[in-house]
Assembly symmetry: D2
Homo-oligomer: 148 residues x 4
């Protein structure tokens, strides 16, 4: 785990990030929750329901991408100073097994945190009946936007 260079003793950064997450209409629409948040690391979970599926009943690749992209973005944001925002530049995702039923979990880690660009990897799996089955892998580039 990384140390947040800008972490304050009162962990204000966690509140800042959780409040940003709460503003993501898309995460609410899907029903996703942020289950872990540490410096350089973020996990987002999403229970299955039919509204999240593609035509064969698996989680839609776009839905999988959505929680993985948010997890990576917030992992990056944990290492930014107050006032800095994050935007996704690009990502690539491999869907290595069909994901269905259970809970989809996107587990993101910062690999490289630069002044302008951050690179994350995200492991995506399905938790079902006590098992964790890998179903996707994302490699993502983000940019830091300094507001004001």
């Amino acid at each position: 785990m990384m140390e947040t260079p800008y972490a304050t003793p009162d962990r204000a950064w966690q509140q800042r990030i959780r409040s940003s997450f709460a503003k993501q209409g898309a995460m609410r629409l899907l029903g996703a929750t942020m289950s872990e948040l540490e410096p350089g690391h973020c996990v987002i979970a999403l229970p299955f329901r039919e509204e999240l599926a593609q035509q064969h009943g698996y989680f839609h690749a776009g839905v999988t991408s959505a929680i993985a992209d948010s997890a990576g973005g917030y992992a990056a944001l944990t290492l930014f100073p107050p006032g800095a925002e994050v935007l996704t530049v690009e990502f690539k995702i491999n869907l290595i097994a069909p994901a269905h039923g259970g809970t989809l979990v996107a587990d993101a880690s910062v690999v490289r945190s630069g002044r302008t660009l951050t690179v994350c990897t995200v492991d995506i799996s399905v938790e079902r009946g006590g098992e964790r089955i890998p179903c996707g892998l994302m490699q993502q580039t983000l940019i830091r936007i300094d507001t004001k």
Copy 2:
């Protein structure tokens, strides 16, 4: 535009694809519609609403990915024989400008249709007030699954 090698005179393939699209819970949840469907080509459109946004009010990258991924998948499927299905192997998306307001449009074309793998590119733009503003670009690999 490509010719569907398996196209039937009555265009049964179009009904097959539109019925598959109708089964995608995720597309219904987002509010997406299939606005064009030709051999090797598919367009999906999605009007903006706050539930589709990330924390700054732009279309969430995952939402953008979702319609682009579906558009590419169905573009690929137009060139498959009846009984063949399509799964996304992987994709990479660049978000080249923030997409907000208006209607998000994902315009997918098959670049290479092989026996096993298909490669698509998807141009993503926002239509707003008569303008079309490019906002993303996807390169996608799909696999054909023969369910005899």
Copy 3:
């Protein structure tokens, strides 16, 4: 084709870029030449020889990537002011058909030229016996580095 916002009447930018290309030891080692250079556009060509092959006698994917990456980088650089340099952030390449014999051609175009980041696409083909056979497709992100 784009207009170089910084183009000088004497086309000094072309000399600047061709002199940078001449400094790429890797391009010399491969035997690549820059065959076209216009604002937002660059083409690099590479005749086949066995030293460029993988184990089946096709152009090695890394060799294909190398000329495509350089073509994209120089396409981006045509739109930068003097003193600015370019570095590859990342790229994704699909190899859509085996490339062997003839001349490998990487044809790069700038899709989005931002203040910090540039996005290019590169079409890769083999020219052989008067034919041009598509064999690859790259989507690339580059960053502008302002020296001094």
Copy 4:
């Protein structure tokens, strides 16, 4: 580490792979060597020289891609039966720090080995003066070709 399902007691698979590597003209041209080979895992190393550089004297991104692509391909091949070959479908690489001097090392691992497709990740670093500095990250898709 994975177990080669097809491993023979005499490790014929290792000779098969090393002999395939020896046939890669491109690896000889660059000066790369295969330094580790285990089931699901392969490492390729490449000492720096100016002929491998881009215009700023760093390893050219295409050269970095070339050894990473080969490392991933051979990691995949360790898990294939005799007679099966491997081709790169696509890859995506992030260059997270300039790589110069020392020895470039591409360390590839199979993440998912399916009947048709294999997914690998490759960590790329520079070893210089006893240090190992991460400089790149690849996510790669490969296809198995059964030659009768």
